[in-house]
Every structure is written in structure tokens, then in C-alpha cells.
């Protein structure tokens, strides 16, 4: 296992439409008319790969984007509509060589059996660069698109109430089961199950295929997968987490957790909480990355970045707020901040470009060279798989008997 040198940090970029600022689509560098074409996404991911980034995540959702948490907003002045993130990732995979591809999947409404084979297949078509970011949805209008169950109305503030926490716990418990099923299915074929033994006429050694026999309160899944174990064995599992309930999911099931500290002290506290949960879950010895999420406005001087943020806020008609910290400044200032947070135990960052067409190239052409000069970021891709880039070994199959 090639541990990443302590001084190096990891960088991912979160892609969402034309960028994370709701007015980003109105910038010169944005290409809002191209959002529903493969070429748009291919260009962004190629730019990220040019910057030697570890991976890109692709946001997704089963409803139209909304400025309200749990209902549609009826707005026509922001980007609305999106393509399936797994399929975007797969469409881009053959066009790239090194960068990891991590689409969002919604555990609440999709089938773990389908998603397990979809991400396994993404791992095949990318030869070992696949992952997923698992997300839950307690939104009533999203549930109405499936018609299988109803959820009560919920505001972002309401999540903190006891009822909100109970709802959230239930959704995250389901997501934990979901990830468990997805992971078991990835292991349901041992690596050497395909034998092609012409003498006996057997294509597989069926003793090396395994039922997963999962039974939970939301679903039961028999297995095995229809797709053989993917190249990485276990593609990357990632989770965005803002509080204890999802921190537990990170600690128990994930390879990377994205967290949203506003300062060094919060970063230290969150990392400590996740490490404690990890120990409680019996995973103390395992490498689990904790990445900081940051929205970034990057320009060559700080005033330009702040002006741009102000201009976008004016276009949007309100100041941009985020669950994550918002940074506006220069690549050198951002590098300072990232290195400071690494001292608190974060091992990397998922940067959310405010304007994809502007801030992504600013990351790859400004921030990355700055970090390289400081000896804090890779100067060439050092591994062929996403797990390899993150210093994660290819896991032993849970069902294999030596």
C-alpha cells in the first residue's frame, strides 16, 4: 500500500451545471446551452485531468433544482434540468485516462442492485477509476416522482428538530444498508471466478460466486451480482456529511467523507468525531479520507475574486450562501488555507467552482502549480486506479477463503 506522503494533499472538484453560484450560467465563461451535451462535460473533466486532480464528483438529483430545500421554487432565472450523473461519468470515461469519476447516486429511491452493477460497469469502462457519492433524499416532491412512499414536508431548519432528526436517521440507516448491499455485490464474485475450463465445460467456478443474502428493513437482496467484481475490487464510496448521523455513515462505510468546517477548529473537531466513530465501528486501522468542501472564487488578485462574487450576487438578487465555506481570493491564499486545514487532519479537498468555466481552470492552472511549488501536490499521476491515487489498497474480497 503506497501511502501518500504526508505533505501531499488530494484535490477533487465537484461539478454541478455551470457552477455552484446560481448566477454562474450568466458568466461569459459559462456555456449554458451546452449543458445537455456530452462535449460540455468532456471538456470540464479534461480540464480537471490536465490539473492532475484525483477525481471529479458529479452532482445529481431526481427533481428539478430548487432554491428551496424541500419544494420546487418555480424559478426560471437559474439553471434547471440535468442529465443522469452515472451516465455522464460513463460517457466521459473512455475520453480520459487517469482521473477518477464519482457520480452521485440517490439511495432513497434507486435499487442497490442496479447501482452496484452500474458503478462496477463504470469501473470497467474506466479501467479502475470509478466511485460513487451516496446521497439521501427526504424531499416529499422527490418521493412523489416514485409514488412508493410519502415523506412529510421538511425545511432545512426542521431537520434539527427531533422529528427531523428521526426522519434523517431513517434515511441514513437506509443509505447504510444500501451501501452495504452495493459493497457486498461488488464482492459477490471472487476475482478468479471466471475459469473457462474447456475440459469440464465450466465457464465459472460457481463456488467463487456468493449470495449476499442481505435482509434489512427497507429491502432484501439475494445476489450475486450479474457483473463480475470490478477492477478496483471496491470502487470508491464517498459521502457528504454535515452532522453526527452522516459522520457515522462516513466512519462505517465510506472511503472519503466530505465535510464543511468553517475554520481550523471546526475541522479538527469534525475529524476527531469521525475518527472516534471509525474506532467504534471497528475501522480504526483503515484509511478513511476526510476532505474539506469549499466553494471557490479564484482570481489573480483578491479584489477581482471579491468583485466577481459581488457581481454574481447582484445578478442573482441575493448573496450566495452555502453549506460549505466560501473562499474568494488568489491561488496562493487558497493554498495557504488548504495547508492550514491539512494540519487539522483533513487529507484533501473537494472544491466547488463558483463558475465552472472560470474557477475550474483557475484551480488547474493557478492553484495546482502553486501547491506543486510548495511540494504539496503531485506533479504526475502516480497510479492507474482511483484507489491507487488515494493510497487505498485493493481490498481483499470479504467472501474469499484462502
Amino acid at each position: 500500500m503506497s501511502a501518500t506522503p504526508a505533505s501531499l494533499l488530494h484535490l477533487a472538484v465537484a461539478l454541478d451545471g455551470t457552477g455552484w453560484h446560481p448566477a454562474s450560467w450568466r458568466e461569459q465563461a459559462a456555456r449554458p446551452r451546452d449543458l445537455f451535451t456530452a462535449g460540455y462535460w468532456a471538456d470540464l473533466v479534461a480540464e480537471a485531468e490536465r490539473g492532475l486532480l484525483d477525481f471529479v464528483t458529479l452532482e445529481d438529483g431526481l427533481v428539478l433544482q430548487s432554491s428551496h430545500y424541500s419544494e420546487p421554487d418555480g424559478r426560471t432565472d437559474q439553471v434547471r434540468g440535468r442529465l443522469d450523473a452515472v451516465l455522464i461519468a460513463s460517457r466521459i470515461a473512455p475520453l480520459t485516462r487517469h482521473i477518477g469519476l464519482v457520480p452521485t447516486v440517490i439511495a432513497t429511491h434507486t435499487e442497490p442492485f442496479h447501482i452496484s452493477k452500474a458503478i462496477a460497469t463504470l469501473d470497467y469502462v474506466s479501467t479502475g477509476r470509478a466511485g460513487l457519492r451516496v446521497q439521501i433524499s427526504p424531499r416529499p416532491h422527490e418521493a412523489a416522482h416514485f409514488g412508493r412512499r410519502t415523506f412529510p414536508p421538511l425545511s432545512l431548519e426542521g431537520i434539527q428538530s427531533p422529528a427531523g432528526q428521526e426522519l434523517l436517521t431513517d434515511r441514513f440507516d437506509e443509505a447504510a444498508d444500501y451501501v452495504e448491499v452495493v459493497r457486498r455485490l461488488w464482492d459477490s464474485w471472487e476475482d478468479d471466478a471466471e475459469i473457462r475450463d474447456v475440459a469440464t465445460g465450466r465457464f465459472i467456478d460457481r463456488d467463487k460466486l456468493h449470495y449476499i443474502d442481505f435482509e434489512g428493513s427497507h429491502f432484501s437482496v439475494k445476489g450475486p451480482s450479474i457483473t463480475p467484481r470490478p477492477p478496483q475490487g471496491q470502487p470508491l464510496v464517498t459521502v457528504l456529511a454535515h452532522q453526527t448521523i452522516p459522520y457515522q455513515l462516513v466512519a462505517r462505510q465510506a472511503d472519503v467523507g466530505y465535510v464543511t468546517p468553517r475554520d481550523a477548529g471546526q475541522a479538527r473537531a469534525i475529524v476527531a468525531e469521525i475518527r472516534a466513530e471509525q474506532e467504534a465501528a471497528g475501522r480504526a486501522g483503515e484509511l478513511v479520507h476526510v476532505f474539506g468542501d469549499l466553494v471557490v472564487f479564484l482570481d489573480d488578485d483578491q479584489a477581482a475574486a471579491e468583485d466577481r462574487r459581488a457581481r454574481l450576487d447582484a445578478l442573482a438578487g441575493e448573496p450566495y450562501t452555502s453549506d460549505a465555506g466560501i473562499f474568494a481570493g488568489t491561488p496562493a491564499q487558497l493554498a495557504d488555507l488548504l495547508q492550514e486545514l491539512v494540519e487539522e487532519g483533513l487529507s484533501g479537498f473537494r472544491l466547488r467552482p463558483a463558475v465552472a468555466g472560470h474557477d475550474l481552470p483557475a484551480i488547474t492552472r493557478g492553484l495546482v502549480p502553486e501547491l506543486q511549488r510548495r511540494g504539496a501536490f503531485r506533479t504526475a499521476y502516480e497510479a492507474d486506479t482511483l484507489r491507487g491515487l488515494l493510497g487505498l489498497a485493493r481490498p481483499v474480497n470479504r467472501y474469499a477463503t484462502a
Partner: protein, 457 residues
């Protein structure tokens, strides 16, 4: 005046998980590595084929309570591999078989609309139905669907998906940066569906794709399946690739179109067909025999006999005579996850017939299975095969064929290199793609135009 020559449609079926696929041949490559799919798709595109076709199976087959290990086992996720193939091809249609039982309309509509955007209008959906609890064990819903409801669910599933595809009209995205108007209509994508199987409402979140809707295939052969195809499908993936059966099926299904206000050319009949090619007809016949023996090993022959006998026959010698014992018609079937076994509706009669056949020809178990299964459709020199295919199409036995090679991934190469040029010389197959969408390749109208036509007629 003779009628003008029909143009032939050709498609390539990626070799599947049954014994048609010969994995034991030294030329056989991986069934799961992406490089095999790339080779296969690029061969089909080089040959100007209409589309590539992927079948489906959502649970590994079992026989006698154990996973069936004699055929290729394992396949990728359909949507994911088709999206990746869109990156390495430019014109080839991408057809995926997707089940209407173990999916939800909102998600499937989203995936097909996304695939259609990401491929520039090349997606197609072979709508299949299923009800078995065996496959259901892999899904949230389980095996909940009574057998007689599978077509009602499939029809409503497709109708619901169409409502979602049509919930955007194609002119909603303005993206006027200066004026700050992204959407023309805040209600874009609105839908309400209330029915027996689905009760959903909201706003679909994928804008109208290049083809409007994916091209719709139907594959079922029952009376209900044929009506479903006549009312709702753009093409049928049929299993009647002989001249006589093909013409009967073709006539039957095309005659059903009128009552739905549809013309003959709005539903294509495309049977699955295998082929064996060699320099001469005689050599091809020899090679075909060899392929049949590769497809039916002794072990495979015993397992196939079990489909009818429905009992463990592992103690029988495949090179020996058929069992004297009769099929077990009492209980649960020995084979799980295999549609084929439903074809033997009267196992006792089939067993009787097969014993007579074997006795008359002095056949062993293996000889019998070789001779009764795996029909090879087109066997001969390239000239013979090209002529036969063209004759069948001109005689209305089909509108073309979905070819199923037996070697992965190179089995299509010889057809592309030797047969396609002959069809092109005869003026019955395209020499270049003339459009960018699968609808265009197949001569099908965009759904907006098609619905205008239907209203007008």
C-alpha cells in the same frame, strides 16, 4: 412495374449468456472488459449497421438449485456500457433491453433521455416484462407481479415514460445570459400520472432529448405482446428468422397496425439471426457443424435435456440414449431465470417426440440436442448469405436482422468485411450513414411528426 427494393436494416447483438456464444474457442475474448465492447461496436459502425443491441438478465440463472456454470456468466450494466460506447462511436444506435417490472418509470425515462442526449440521439429501449419472484429477490419490490399483469404494467410503464419524455417540448431552454432567462416556462416537465400501477406527479428533470423519445422495441411473442408492439413499438425484436415463419409473423403483426392508425412502415420487424460464413457453401456447412458441437458440449446437452425432463439427469451419458424415465411435470421447474423453458408447454409430448427422433436417426442425447436446438439461420459463402438475407427481406419475412455472432468480440468482423459489401453492391444497404440519429437510420419519424401524422390521418 416491380416494387422498389426495400433497404435492409442490420443490427449487432452482443453475444449473450446462453450456449449460442462459444466461449471455449481460442478466438473468444472477454465478455466483460470494455475493450470487447469497443471492438464489437466499432465493427458494427464500420459496417454501417443501424444499431448495437444488448439483452438483459437481472439474476444469474440456476439449475437444480445451483448457479448455471456452462455458459458465459456475467454482463455489464446496460445503460452504463451504452453511455460509454457513445464515446467511441458516432452514428451507431444504442439499444438496451430494460425491464419494466424491476424499475420505475421516472428513473428509466431519465436514463434513456440522458443516454439520448449523451449520444446525440442514438438511444433505443427494448421494453421487456418479467414477473418471476426468482429475479425479484434482487429488488426492493420482490416478485410482486401476477403473471397476467405483466403486460398491463409494461404498457402503463411505457405510457408513463412517454408522458415524461413529452413533458418537455424542446423549446423551454432559452439560456439568455443577458436577460437572465434560463427557462421559458416555469412548469417545464410537469406531469401527473394516475393509473393502476403508477401514481406519480411532479416535474421531470431532463429536457427534451434529440430523438424526443428513444426508439421503442418490443420482444414478446404472445398475443398480448404482438398487440403491444402494434400499438406502441417502433420495432420488434422477433425470433422468426426463417422465410416461412418470418412471413407469417410479419403479415400478422403488420396487419394489426391499421386499427391503431399506423402505417406498415411505422413498425419494423427485425428477427434475431445467427450466421456461419466460409469461403464456400460446403465449407460453411462443415464449419456450422463444428460450431454446433462447440455450442453443445456433453455437459450442456444433459442440462438442456433437463429443461424438458425437469429432473436431475447428471447420471446419464450424453453420448448414450435418451432417458427411459418420463419428465417430471409435478413441481417447481429445475431451471430458474430462463425464459426458454416456457416453450416446452407439454414436456411429456416433447419427450415422446424426441425419443422417436433419436430412435429414427440413431442419435445420442448430445446429437439430439445439437439437432433440435440452436438453429443456425444463415450458413454459406458471403454471396449465399447476402443473397438469402436480401431475398428474405424483399419477400417480407422481415425488414432486416439483428445478427448474433457466436464469438466475442470478433465474430462480427467477417460479416462486416465480406457480406456487407455485397449487400451494398446490390443497392439494398447504406454505404454511408445519412443522418445522425437512430430514428433516421431506421426511417422512423420524430415523435412530434409522427403524432401530427396520426392526428391528420
Amino acid at each position: 412495374m416491380s416494387k422498389p427494393l426495400k433497404q435492409i436494416h442490420l443490427a449487432a447483438h452482443f453475444p449473450g449468456v446462453n450456449n449460442t456464444t462459444v466461449w471455449s474457442d481460442p478466438k473468444a475474448g472477454s465478455h466483460i472488459e470494455f475493450s470487447s465492447f469497443v471492438h464489437f461496436a466499432r465493427t458494427a459502425e464500420r459496417a454501417k449497421f443501424d444499431f448495437l443491441f444488448l439483452a438483459e438478465g437481472l439474476r444469474l440463472r440456476e439449475q437444480g438449485g445451483r448457479i448455471y456454470d456452462l455458459d458465459v456468466v456475467g454482463r455489464p450494466d446496460t445503460f452504463t456500457v451504452l453511455a460509454a460506447l457513445a464515446a467511441v462511436t458516432k452514428h451507431l444506435g444504442l439499444t438496451g433491453t430494460i425491464n419494466s417490472t424491476f424499475n420505475e418509470p421516472y428513473e428509466v425515462a431519465r436514463q434513456f433521455a440522458s443516454l439520448d442526449h449523451l449520444s446525440g440521439g442514438r438511444s433505443a429501449w427494448n421494453v421487456v416484462t418479467s414477473w418471476d419472484a426468482f429475479t425479484g429477490e434482487n429488488f426492493r419490490r420482490g416478485g410482486f407481479l401476477p403473471q397476467d399483469e405483466r403486460y398491463s404494467r409494461a404498457k402503463e410503464f411505457l405510457a408513463t415514460a412517454n408522458e415524461l419524455f413529452d413533458s418537455w417540448h424542446g423549446d423551454e431552454i432559452v439560456a439568455d445570459q443577458a436577460a437572465g432567462v434560463f427557462l421559458r416556462d416555469a412548469k417545464a416537465g410537469s406531469f401527473v400520472h394516475t393509473g393502476q400501477h403508477f401514481d406519480i406527479h411532479g416535474q421531470f428533470n431532463v429536457p427534451r432529448s434529440p430523438q424526443g423519445r428513444p426508439v421503442i422495441f418490443q420482444a414478446g411473442d404472445s398475443e398480448e405482446g404482438r398487440e403491444f408492439a402494434a400499438s406502441d413499438a417502433d420495432a420488434i425484436f422477433s425470433r422468426y428468422a426463417t422465410l416461412k415463419e418470418g412471413r407469417a409473423f410479419y403479415t400478422d403483426v403488420k396487419n394489426r397496425l391499421a386499427k391503431y392508425g399506423r402505417r406498415h412502415d411505422q413498425l419494423l420487424i427485425l428477427p434475431a439471426a445467427t450466421f456461419v460464413l466460409a469461403d464456400t457453401d460446403a465449407e460453411a456447412e462443415e464449419l456450422a457443424k463444428e460450431v454446433r458441437r462447440q455450442q453443445v458440449s456433453g455437459a450442456t446437452a444433459i442440462k438442456h435435456l433437463e429443461f424438458v425432463w425437469n429432473r436431475d439427469l447428471s447420471s446419464y451419458d450424453p453420448e448414450g440414449p435418451l432417458p427411459g424415465v418420463d419428465p417430471d411435470v409435478s413441481g417447481d421447474h429445475i431451471s430458474k431465470g430462463r425464459a426458454q423453458v416456457r416453450m416446452y408447454r407439454d414436456p411429456l409430448a416433447t419427450a415422446r417426440e424426441w425419443r422417436e427422433l433419436a430412435a429414427a436417426n440413431n442419435w445420442s442425447i448430445r446429437d439430439l440436442v445439437i439437432n433440435t436446438g440452436n438453429r443456425q439461420n444463415f450458413v454459406g459463402s458471403p454471396a449465399t448469405v447476402a443473397r438469402t438475407i436480401n431475398d428474405y427481406v424483399q419477400a417480407d419475412a422481415s425488414d432486416g436482422f439483428i445478427l448474433v455472432p457466436h464469438i466475442t468480440p470478433s465474430g462480427l468482423d467477417v460479416f462486416a468485411d465480406k457480406v456487407v459489401p455485397l449487400l451494398q453492391e446490390q443497392g439494398v444497404f447504406r454505404t454511408e450513414y445519412e443522418g445522425s440519429t437512430l430514428r433516421h437510420h431506421l426511417g422512423l419519424a420524430h415523435p412530434d411528426e409522427a403524432s401530427n401524422e396520426r392526428v391528420a390521418s
